[in-house]
């Protein structure tokens, strides 16, 4: 048994553990050494590495043979000699070729960028080469080689003054491509293409400059364009300028920077901009909803500052991870969690690039050495902070705790805060206990102290039956029978809360007006029947009374009145859940409390009665206080049951993960969340492990509570034994 419990705990813990592991470097391969690259990358199959330096060709280097990552039955082939893929023909269309006798000045590449299959390079002559670099694998049995193909699309004379291109940004969509560049002087230039397709499916491109308002004519330092081609960011020495390229006006936003910028990059999704500064600070910026003031672009977080200028920032293509290079050291960051991890790469790093699935890393050191490493970075978005503290997600006005695990696209930023779920769990449990606690305990007091033996003999099994009712039945009835009826009669329910106790007291008084002889002549279950009748009457009367109350105070429609006062009453609300969940918990609380009170030694009762106390005084002053620890443990066990209950909350709440104390809206609990999301969660993903963590939380919580309750009960038993 211990093995089973421990085994379950350990197994779930093992599944959760990788969440807490910091990203780190795995297996290392030195690929080759080359001159310092402008840009480099790994092909989509992980078989070769390509680099582009100042010479106009891409060098393709095979990764040493071995087993490929992720594909068990494929081997990388023997490394072949390096290959060169030329960036052919730098001739600009519609321009005369340079006269042969003109003294050729040395031409070399000065900037390059890549997006998707596109490769864009600029040279010191103000020209930009636009083309595609694609890869294709060939198989020989299980052995695979991958080769690259270079295709020229266009060459553009971006800078008419023929100064060198300092930095490039590129974005392509189905309809158009956009190229932006900063020249040597720091002037911003842009060109966009229009792609037209004729009936035969051939495409023709026409290129035209884009004019941007306030584009710097000199002094531009860095630029970045998101992959959708929507937002262009350019920094000058003291400010950040931002354009919405697709807007008609193309007006610039001018934003003050806290220091001189050295590097700039948009993260996946094009919502967050990362700014690296000369003083070593890394800040992230994004568009924030300021309510009435409208949206504005703001600095939202500052990451661990470095000692040296941030020379390079590289965004990941799968998550919101990014790399920074500062003073030769390489760090991995994640925007959502705001964390930074040093990576165990030899120092002297000048360039770094992610592999296609972010599971590989290519780094280059100052001496030109290229290092290919595996990168273990499975759960960068999860940390204790993101789970339990508010996080400033993209598009939100302020840091918030949100659970939204999946979205419409791959670029969706998962919002994985457990706080709303923990909140929902505790809220449901709290309301259920408020309903079930008093009812169960009071019923237990009556059963153990006042009820006659014959009636008790069938009352207890009835309540035990109540405990055995499947929760799916309770959930179904709560959601589809109770909820619609409750929604229309909320004031009546409030009225019933008042009427029922009143009816009980009145019924009791009337009963006692009967003569003792008359009462004795009635069968033992008569009081139960009588009270049942009176309570039924109270429930019946509360209907019309509720309607009158609704007329008098809530303008005839309670839900409308609540809505007018700013609270929307959901159909499947906490009240319904409290009722259904309470229904499930009552028998537990009842049974354990009843056991506890019955176990109080009868000598105490006799002594109290002998001293002249009434039955009720004996109950309240003597019996119940003696059994208090038992009743407490009953509530604890009820809490444990309500915390983990799944089907009732799954069916009777709207499963909306909101944090709100209101009785009139729904919530989502940890357990229901597991039931909803685990069947769809990819194995070993962050979501999968987080759901295991939820299970671990539930396990731990119920374990602690049940153990405590058990200890309390054991002590109580020992005490009664001693009496």
């Amino acid at each position: 048994m211990i093995v089973v419990v421990l085994g379950m705990f350990l197994f779930i813990l093992v599944e959760v553990w990788p969440l807490l592991q910091a990203p780190h470097i795995g297996q290392k391969d030195t690929v080759s050494s080359a001159t310092t690259s402008l840009i480099a990358g790994i092909d989509p199959y992980g078989d070769s590495v390509w680099t582009l330096s100042t010479e106009p060709f891409v060098r393709l280097v095979d990764v040493p043979p071995g087993t490929t990552r992720g594909e068990a039955d494929v081997q990388r082939g023997e490394a072949r000699p390096d290959r060169q893929l030329m960036l052919e023909s730098w001739q600009v269309e519609g321009e005369d070729p340079p006269p042969a006798e003109a003294a050729p000045m040395p031409i070399f590449l000065t900037a390059a960028t890549r997006q998707g299959d596109w490769l864009v390079a600029g040279n010191n002559d103000g020209r930009v080469w636009v083309g595609k670099l694609t890869f294709e694998p060939t198989f020989a049995g299980d052995v695979r080689h991958t080769d690259g193909h270079m295709e020229r699309v266009a060459v553009l004379q971006l800078d008419p003054a023929r100064t060198a291109i300092k930095a490039l940004a590129f974005a392509a969509s189905d309809e158009k491509e956009q190229v932006f560049a900063l020249t040597e002087r720091g002037a911003l230039l842009g060109v966009t293409s229009t792609v037209e397709e004729n009936l035969l499916g051939e495409t023709t491109r026409t290129w035209a400059p884009i004019s941007l308002v306030d584009a710097p004519e000199e002094g531009g330092v860095t630029l970045a364009l998101d992959s959708e081609g929507r937002h262009l960011a350019v920094t000058t020495r003291e400010e950040l300028r931002l354009w919405d390229v697709r807007a008609e006006t193309r007006a610039a936003q001018h934003l003050k920077l806290g220091g001189e910028t050295t590097s700039l990059v948009w993260l996946l999704g094009g919502e967050s901009l990362v700014v690296g500064r000369r003083d070593g600070a890394i800040t992230t910026w994004m568009s924030v909803d300021g309510g009435e003031k409208g949206r504005s672009f703001q600095e939202v977080t500052t990451l661990a500052p470095q000692a040296a200028p941030i020379t390079r920032l590289v965004a990941g293509g799968r998550t919101r991870s990014f790399l920074s290079v500062a003073g030769g050291t390489l760090l991995l960051h994640h925007r959502t969690s705001g964390r930074s991890w040093p990576l165990a790469i030899p120092s002297g790093v000048v360039g770094a690039w992610f592999g296609p699935r972010e599971d590989q890393l290519l780094t280059q050191t100052g001496d030109g050495k290229l290092l290919l490493t595996a990168l273990e970075n499975a759960h960068p978005e999860v940390s204790l902070t993101t789970l339990f503290r508010p996080v400033w997600y993209e598009g939100y006005a302020k840091p918030e705790s949100v659970w939204q695990s999946t979205g419409g696209s791959d670029e969706f930023e998962p919002k994985l805060s457990l706080l709303p779920l923990v909140w929902g769990t505790l809220k449901g449990t709290f309301y259920a206990l408020i309903f079930a606690g008093p009812l169960g305990i009071l019923a237990a007091i009556y059963t153990s102290l006042f009820l006659d033996g014959t009636t008790r003999r069938w009352v207890k099994p009835t309540i035990e039956i109540m405990a055995s009712l499947p929760s799916v039945v309770l959930g179904f009835l709560a959601a589809l029978w109770l909820a619609p009826r409750m929604a229309g009669h909320l004031p009546s329910i409030l009225a019933a809360l008042v009427l029922i106790p009143m009816a009980a007291v009145v019924a009791g008084f009337l009963w006692h007006r009967l003569s003792r002889a008359r009462r004795a002549s009635l069968p033992g279950f008569a009081p139960v029947l009588w009270l049942g009748l009176m309570l039924g009457l109270a429930v019946f009367l509360s209907g019309p009374l509720g309607i009158s109350v609704e007329r008098l105070f809530f303008a005839g429609d309670f839900r409308q009145w609540m809505a007018d006062n700013g609270t929307v009453v959901d159909r499947r609300n906490s009240l319904v859940v409290a009722f259904a969940l309470g229904f499930a918990v009552i028998p537990l609380i009842y049974t354990i409390s009843e056991d506890a009170i019955s176990a109080v030694p009868p000598s105490l009762k006799s002594a109290s009665l002998a001293c002249g106390a009434s039955l009720w005084q004996t109950a309240v002053r003597v019996m119940v206080p003696a059994a208090t620890p038992g009743i407490l443990s009953a509530i604890m066990i009820g809490f444990g049951r309500a915390v983990g209950e799944t089907m009732i909350v799954l069916m009777a709440t709207g499963n909306t993960p909101i944090m709100d104390i209101s009785l009139f809206n729904g919530f989502r609990t940890l357990s229901a969340n597991i039931a909803v999301e685990l069947p769809e969660a990819p194995v070993d993903s962050s979501l999968y492990r987080l759901l295991f963590l939820s299970a671990l939380l539930l396990f731990g919580l119920t374990f602690v509570i049940n153990t405590a309750a058990e200890v309390v009960r054991a002590r109580l038993r020992a005490r009664f034994k001693a009496m």
Partner: protein, 537 residues
Amino acid sequence: MTVRRFVKEGEPYVWLTFAALVLCLLMVGGMVALVLGQGLATFWPRPLVEVTTAEGEHLLAQRIDVEADAEGHILREQLRIGNRDVYGLDFRWVEVKDVQFGSHPSDVLVVERLQWGPLFAYVERLQEGDKILATGPATGRQVLADVLPAAHARLNEIRRLEVAISDQNTQLEEIDRERKKALWKSRGAPLPESETLRMEGEIVAIRTAMDEIQEKLTRAREEDTHHVVTFKLASGDTKDLILSEVVRADAVNDVGPGGKLRIYTERLWEFLSAEPRESNTEGGVWPALFGTVLMTLVMTVFVVPLGVLAAIFLREYARQGLLVSLVRIAVNNLAGVPSIVFGVFGLGFFVYTVGGWVDNTFFPAFLPTPTFGTGGLIWASATLALLTLPVVIVSTEEALAAVPNSVREGAIGCGATQFQALWRVVLPSAAPGLLTGMILAVARGAGEVAPLMLTGVVKLAPALPLDGHAPYLHLERKFMHLGFHIYDVGFQSPNVEAAMPMVYSTTLLLLILVITLNLTAMLVRSWLREKYRSATF
């Protein structure tokens, strides 16, 4: 008794506690009554009434529900108008002032059909090919009743042929599996020619047989389409149906109480024994009932030996010390762990870890299609076995503890070893207690849904886990379950309103199952207590 004395003695409070108890009882009683009422009413034939709306539309409807204002005036009435293919909706709320209710025509039929829910209509014409068998509502419904059995026989024949074809398909799959296995064994090398020839021969034989059956099937279907019944709706429009699509047709306005009872029993039987139709909202729950029972049986096979052995060890052999109290705490805690946590563990451990290992070790030829590495009956049963383990242990221990020590001492005094005493004397006396534990475990297991949702329950299983193909009991198959059926039909079905009666009936069935099991356990337990009370020395 005066008010003053009444208050002084604290009687109001006593009556408040009394009220709490009575409320609890009322809640249980009310809930059971609600499910009983709604669930039993499902199959009772409701009369059909002619309705004329303000727009002059004629309808045939069953009156379902009313909505009244504060003074009790009925404002709106809910009608079941059926004919979903014509009206788009089964139900309609109408303003009482806008409609006129007419007579209850005796010839009108409630037609249950394979698709689109019930049809409320008159028979217009019955045809067999070009031959007209009957016309008009009165004779039409008589003749319809006569020819329906033959139509159902035709449908059964078609079904039988379809099953035969799927059997042949299964055989083809078997051969394919065999081939894959052989290929995997030979590590990709081509199979010997004799093998290939043998397999191809078998395939050809099966295909020939299949073609024959297919031809028969085509003929049977062709023959079936000749039998057509034309219905006339209240609006005067007509609706043609192939006769075999009619599941049953009842002239609900023209049957006496006896006839209604007959219809009721027949529909109840259909509910228990038939396959579901129309995404589970019509027809029966047989696969779900079967799945529930089979799953709990397999669970019992797992949990009872384990639980009983653990309890015997704890009670009869282990020295009561720290370890035993730790075990007891563990048992109590296991009982308190939320069921969804068991589900998570079942998915991670049984399905992905154990199931994945089984697949890699025994069924590598079929990967990446999982055999055991996905949710299935066996993993659901194993998960629930863990869940119900404490129930079995606790009640077995209780039963063993109830056997007086004098009995053990007597046996050992007569020269029995401890094991003999246990086996021959103690266990037989405790047997009813073991039975109680088993029944309680089954009751708990039958009602749990949350862990199953993660470990192998589905809304519609293509095949029962028990069938005529070796190895007969397919533990790896996914299965249906009454509890999940309730959740699925009540919450995931496109037409919840029309499905509600079915959900209530399923709920009732599950409730009866669970309550009966629990009552049995209670009776056995109390009988056991009586027995030992008198047997104490």
